[in-house]
């Protein structure tokens, strides 16, 4: 293990000790690690049953599923379900909106959460930190149904807080929630507001795992605050940040159904309609069992491509690949 000088070990890539053609060496390696295998066994069993089991059932995405015939008995239709929604009228727009929301929330959300975690970590006033941190993560618990009401009081063109300010400055009220020009900003900002505090929990935990000795040594060496952050804090949490980023890229087509569903309305379909809201309108209402499953697999395929590419990039830049 190499130490990065931050009390954090950088894992060295090994191939796991497998040498093709040397059967007994391999068997010995397995025996040496038998405890680990035993520890992991129950969890791997869980994955087999509750993750690969449903994937077996997911073959209905390639079939015309009839409940009376069951998963195996239903007839195959190949890629028909996929074609149905890829060739659908709004597909390009849905993909565009979905990726826009997902990418923007990612690009803005993670840095913001990291900066907040750093600020919380740096402050001397422990009580202040507790208060701010507790307040910051509370919005995570507000359901979007309630958030909608709050946002209406803030953004409504009819006496909403912001529009009151605008009007007092002599402007015209802006219908934020129903204007295609503003809806995207509304969605992204409200999501940042709601989730940033919660995301910092993880990064703060990472920061706290860094040994204070390193900071002391740096201070003795005359490092400024920013230098300490750059050389100690950031490298300390980079592994987690990279991991979270890669995983979120894998779910790039999850743009936040619960939020969009509550906030969107017909006037902003063009910028607000995402894959999941479309599937909801189409699939739920029509007993199209296979459609949602097909879309789920499609999302996975796109996410897979992205995560493979990102992993390669990550390997090159940060030497912290996921696999």
């Amino acid at each position: 293990m190499q130490l990065l000088g931050a009390g954090i070990a950088k894992p060295v890539r090994t191939s796991g000790g497998y040498q093709p053609g040397r059967g007994t060496a391999f068997a010995r390696a397995i025996w040496r690690h038998r405890w680990l295998y035993m520890l992991m066994a129950p969890t791997l069993l869980y994955f087999l049953i509750f993750r690969y089991g449903p994937l077996w059932n997911a073959q209905i995405a390639f079939k015309d599923f009839r409940p009376l015939l069951g998963v195996l008995g239903s007839p195959w239709t190949g890629l028909q379900n996929f074609e149905a929604f890829i060739n659908s009228f709004y597909f390009d727009q849905l993909m565009g909106n979905t990726i826009f929301f997902s990418a923007t929330k990612l690009l803005l959300g993670i840095p913001l959460a990291v900066v907040l975690a750093l600020a919380l970590h740096e402050t001397w006033f422990a009580r202040y930190r507790t208060v701010v941190q507790t307040m910051a993560y509370l919005p995570h618990f507000l359901s979007w149904v309630v958030m909608y009401g709050v946002m209406l009081t803030i953004l409504s063109p009819n006496n909403g807080l912001i529009n009151q300010v605008i009007e007092s400055l002599g402007g015209d009220p802006i219908p934020f929630m129903r204007s295609p020009d503003w809806f995207r900003q509304v969605v992204v900002v409200s999501d940042l507001w709601k989730e940033t505090g919660w995301s910092t929990i993880l990064y703060l935990a990472a920061l706290l795992a860094i040994s204070p000795h390193l900071y002391e040594a740096a201070t003795v060496d005359g490092a400024s605050h920013l230098q300490r952050i750059w050389h100690i804090s950031l490298p300390g949490i980079i592994p987690v940040v990279v991991l979270v980023t890669l995983l979120r890229l894998g779910h790039i087509l999850e743009a936040g159904f619960n939020q969009i569903f509550v906030l969107y309305s017909v006037p902003v379909y063009s910028v607000g309609d995402i894959l999941d809201t479309w599937v909801y309108r189409q699939g739920v209402l029509q007993f199209q069992f296979s459609l949602a499953t097909a879309v789920g697999l499609f999302k996975g395929a796109v996410g897979l491509i992205l995560i493979v590419v990102a992993n390669r990039v990550s390997k090159r830049i940060t030497e912290l690949p996921l696999f």
Binding site: F65, P67, S88, F89, Y148, N158, S265, P267, R281, L285
Partner: protein, 562 residues
Amino acid sequence: MKTMQDTDPTLRRRMRRAWIVGLVVTAILAQVVAACGGAATEPPVAPPAAESEVPGEEPTAEPTVPPEPVDIELWAQATVTEAGAPPDDWIAYDIIRERLNINLTYVILPTGGDGEAVLNASAAANELPDLLQMVSAANDPRSTLYRLVQLGLLAPVDDLMPLMPERVATHYNDPLLLSLVTFDGHQYGFPEPPPLPRREGLVIRSDWLESLGLEPPTTLEELLEVAVAFTEQDPDGNGLDDTYGIGGFIVGQGLGNRFDFILGGFGVPGVWNFTDPANFGLNVRDPRYPEAVAFFNRVVEAGVVDPDWPTLTRDDFRARWKQGLFGIMWEDFAALSNQSNYTPFDENFPDGAWIPLPAPTGPEGEAYYGVYTGRGQIFAVSQRAADDGKGEAIARLLEWMAEPEGYYLLGFGEEGVNFVLDEEGNVSIEGIDPALAWNSAERQPYTQMRNQLIFYNTPAEINARYPTYQTSNGRTMEPMMFLEFFQNQPWVDGRGIQVILPPANAADFDRFYNEGLMQFALGQVEINEETWAEFLAGLDTLGAVEYEASALQALQEAGLVP
């Protein structure tokens, strides 16, 4: 403060071990408790009928009662969602077991998309219950029924109808509704009577009219003028610029049911042209439609509509009219004038009053209030239940619900405890403890089936549900007055819409339709010949012509169109 960091590591380790062991033990115990709890709350299996306490001299309608009680599981939506299901010691469960030899399990389905997801999932797993409601988030239960029938998951019920004479006479007496649930010559569902027909309408603040010296409008242009006056001339006299002329929200297709009266003034209310069967098709093809939308756009541009109308929910809308935000609106008669709904408004504005408005006429003198679709709930029997031979028991249950004993018990409660009957047979709560009255908060869990399976719009029901009362300043408020007024307005009979099945690309078609109209209405796209033609062409790309053709065919097959 001494923290965990300061204590001896061994002690820490032991404490953590204790914690984890404790958690695991709790988890295991919890499962056991939950399993026992779950088991214990099932209705106790009744002893065989030979040992039951059913008195021998009671006149029974069924000469042969099978020895074992039949388990029937019923899925239905609740009348009052937040009140929850009735408790397990509900007297109705006992009576149903003793009288009908049925163990009833009553499961309440969530409303809206959640309920549909549950139904969807159960159908996929072929785990539908015995008797179930066709839940539909889009308020199209017949579509749900049709799909489930196609999947072979529902059983025909022709044989069960003769077993329930009382219920058929009171609930299933509309040939049109029966034809809707008949496929390939077999009846597959029980079409419950729809709620009171044509119960929504246009209302206006009469006190605002008075304070501005205006007459109630009769045409669309007059309505616009009055709306402008309401917005700009401070009709509530409080010196604040805080009122709008019109309020509403979007529900349904296009510009929604709530603004259909505007389209009606141009002769084109609703999605489909039911006014001129010879030229059946989408209303948007009618040249009057773009004129109507242009008028709507004028109304919006005039700034007289509560600007949140495209995004508002029903709750927000209702909160706003009670806060006196606007003066003209489309509302359900009960939501407007029923005592519990009207009281908050009354307390805010004791001198405020709403009067109904007739259908405003358009430039050509046409007027339609809206389209009456007559959708009611539909219940069905699963094929599995039929295969298990439970059909006859289900019929028994449904029949009992239509007989006086079941009707009153499930609709109101116990006579003398939760309600009383007066000489005319009307239900009232005279002399009843308010906490036990059938319409009190505490009693709601016990009558959750009333809107789904019990009520069928008898005069007694209506009098019970919509009684006359006094407002805070002594005026008499009669909800029935609004209802009668609304029902006498010119409505389009659009019940044929129930036979029209959504197209395969419904989501795309609906979105294009709704989004296009909304953009015209809001002025995001200027409405002129070109843009309208583009809109229609776009609909055609999405299969509008085929959609119209299949709709016409469905109507012809149902005999609703010559």
